[in-house]
Symmetry: C2
């Protein structure tokens, strides 16, 4: 298949395992010890000899390590951030070395609830520990050490990826030169927790969930599908749904007067639900949404004060939000901005005018490219930022 010229091309997911010895186990935020951990990751571009051009890309809830390129000659679907990662793109592989890994608790190569627990020979299922965004970042730190990267030029992601970027800057302030936090938040609102909780409820209520022990049999497809449908509504905006679907019917001008999915928006949600079940593990959905609900920067790092928390950060910060994002609304980014400004940090913020809701972070790549590209180049090239922060 003919691939576009500005892609990283064919790529391969690699694996790194650590904490095979009990004394190297990860200490989770819950206090539990956990290991071994295998991390699925991909890299694009080349790490220079100074090892100062590495950028970590962090994925959102349903993402994985495959951020860019194609997995085979005939692969039609590129990585999840293909629009942003590649030669000459926002994350420019001609200049920088990109790393992306699947999160702890995930289901695409990194140790998660579907992985075999070496102590039992069975999948962890609900014996998998409840992990935090901080725990995900600890695993990424191990990967950086494995790759010989002491300090990241940038760490970036959208949504839950943005939380990881912020967490990196907080947890390892001396290892991050810049963080790019997109369509994200320092903590979820009650409304977002509520949507997550209902999604988890749908999974747990599915009789096929069986306390999480469904591996090798039927998966809780209905529950996971409903969780995904709820999620999808929150990723779009009222306006984008109106423009995309409005009240259009699926197949005829006349109402069916039955319970078929006759509105186009219904059939879209059905499709999204079904497609998701094919590629995603229901237990991972539970663990990853829980990690997001627990994410609370003011509480964890600032004793309740966002400003006090963000004062720990040494990295340059770029925050991007989207006007129509109602899952992690601009006011949450503005609260971060205010706290960074109060703490006297090097912070930039753009609230991008977009109709696409939360999904905008994957769609508004032209403006993002200009903003992010400039920000990274400035961080890399400007002596001032080097001397001051390195």
């Amino acid at each position: 298949m003919e691939k576009p010229a500005n892609t990283v091309g064919q790529v391969k997911t690699e694996y790194f395992t650590f904490a095979e010895d009990d004394d190297e186990y990860l200490i989770l935020d819950s206090g539990k010890r956990f290991g071994p951990v295998t991390v699925a990751y991909e890299t694009y571009g080349t790490l220079n000899t100074e090892k100062d051009n590495a950028i970590l890309l962090c994925h959102a809830l349903s993402g994985d390590a495959h951020a860019a390129g194609y997995h085979s000659e005939n692969d039609k679907k590129p990585g999840w951030w293909e629009d942003m990662v590649g030669p000459g793109k926002a994350f420019d592989t001609n200049k920088y070395f990109m790393i992306c890994s699947n999160v702890l608790g995930g289901c695409v190569g990194t140790t998660g609830p579907a992985s075999i627990n070496p102590h039992t020979g069975k999948p962890y299922a609900m014996d998998f520990p409840v992990v935090t965004i901080g725990d995900m970042v600890k695993v990424q730190k191990k990967l950086m050490e494995h790759l010989g990267v002491q300090k990241l030029l940038a760490v970036s992601g959208g949504s839950m990826g943005g939380m990881q970027a912020l967490e990196w800057a907080l947890r390892y302030p001396d290892c991050v030169r810049s963080a790019i936090i997109i369509a994200s938040t320092a903590c979820l609102s009650a409304q977002s927790i509520a949507f997550d909780a209902v999604g988890r409820n749908a999974i747990i209520s599915d009789p096929k969930w069986k306390g999480g022990n469904y591996y090798g049999g039927d998966v809780p497809a209905q529950g996971l599908s409903i969780a995904r449908m709820i999620g999808h509504i929150t990723y779009l905006s009222d306006r984008s749904m109106h423009e995309k679907f409005g009240r259009k019917l699926q197949s005829s001008e006349k109402l069916n007067f039955d319970f078929s999915s006759e509105f186009q928006v219904e059939s879209y949600l059905d499709y999204q639900g079904t497609k998701f079940v094919e590629r995603f593990d229901a237990n991972t959905y539970l663990f990853v949404t829980k990690a997001m609900d627990y994410f609370d920067v003011p509480e964890y790092y600032g004793g309740g004060s966002l400003e006090k928390a963000l004062d720990l950060i040494k990295a340059r910060i770029l925050i991007l939000s989207f006007t129509s994002d109602w899952l992690f609304p601009p006011y949450q980014s503005e609260e971060m901005l205010d706290a960074f400004v109060q703490a006297g940090k090097d912070v930039s913020y753009v609230n991008i005018d977009s109709p696409y809701g939360h999904d905008a972070f994957l769609l508004e790549y032209e403006l993002e490219t200009r903003l992010i590209g400039t920000f990274i180049d400035a961080t890399y090239n400007n002596e001032m930022f080097w001397e001051e922060k390195w």
Copy 2:
């Protein structure tokens, strides 16, 4: 129990049955013939000898005929619109005669999917026909005839109740002197249809739903509960959820690191879901949300034009919306206002500043009382409105 002074006091639900003969059957909007139909209703106040002081109150999705007062001496819970209906209240029973009935397809006394189909001796379940807001209004019209009311002084309701008020003014323009449309819309947005669809999906996916034939056995409690949780999130606002729950934990300062409902907002949703299952029929949830999704005034009455549709109306109109209502947002009320104005109708509109989201229509009763009370009195007392419109 001591009751407040300004209540209608103890009331009783009454029942009226029509179409017991096949030739009196209701012709539904789907074209189907349906009967017999029993209507559960309550009345408060006195119909005057001129029979010109009758006001119909229309309930929302989960409401019923019990709008005001108490069902027994020891009843602690008044009707759903107690704050608005009674002596000296917005809907003043000292002056006016109030009627409220459970909708067709409902589960609190009016014929619905849980009712016995006289032709089979079994509950209709999914053999119940798909009905519309128009069909609900046709049933209310039969009730008005039964009560000897030829013309309503006002018809009013919030949310789905507002749709019925609008439908009355459209379907029976000569029988309605005024309509008060609160927190409502001339048609649902794609986003609202999507939320309804996911709720229905949750019910239908529950194995206990059994194609709707669960009567006499276990009800699809999990599915209905999830549908209700989704609904509840849409009835509140981000801000009201933040103020009510924020990120507060249920019982301790420490995170549990498990999947219990530890955030207060989670336990609130659990409670709302469970409570709803005790009082509401899952099949009714399917039929009533479907009726809302089908409601489409521009399409049904105006060949796609809202202005053309609303031009059919002779009633005076009062529209109320709430700034933080994102289920039926103010812009939908403003679209109605614009179309009414374009059509040269007698219309008033107030967008009430409130943090309570869609639920505000049940909570902002002080301001609603002033606006609605004045509007009804003016309609009743002003000779001009009589001569012109009667």
